[in-house]
């Protein structure tokens, strides 16, 4: 099994990113937007949930 090569450690700075995203409520037709992780700094905790491709062919 091809595993990921390296991992981040607790307490490290989370790599910032800016990604194209659905609206605030995915699947409800809201306007698309960009989401930048560092925009939440000082305001909210963030739960990043990475998941495999949505329509993965079996």
């Amino acid at each position: 099994m091809a595993k990921a090569i390296w991992k981040l450690a607790l307490g490290e700075e989370a790599p910032d990113f800016e990604l194209q995203a659905t609206g605030d409520t995915a699947g409800k037709g809201g306007p698309k937007k960009k989401v930048r992780l560092s925009d939440y700094r000082g305001r909210k905790s963030v739960v990043l949930a990475f998941f495999p491709a949505t329509f993965t062919p079996v």
Binding site: A4, A21, T25, V35, G42, L48, F51
Partner: protein, 104 residues
Amino acid sequence: MPSYEEDLSEFERRNAQVLGISTDLVHAQEAWAKTMGGLSYPLLADNWPYGYTAAQYGVLRGDGLVERSIFVVDKAGKIAYIDIHDIGQQPPTDKIMAALDKLK
């Protein structure tokens, strides 16, 4: 991903924003979320370059698939919790909540 819908008020209570990330294009994510009746959080498209953000977090596998994984980032931008799971499994929500509780 769908299971977080039920927990959303729990995340809100802890002042936490859920961001779902996959390598799909936004229009595919939107369509997928719609089939589930919509979600209460955004889905982010990590597709250009493909899986770049996943790679930065160490969850892009050599075969191009992304590990099902959770990273809790605190308000200071530091990683407070990591949970990397087999693709077929759902990370336990109670542990995520416990990690968020510790941030208060």
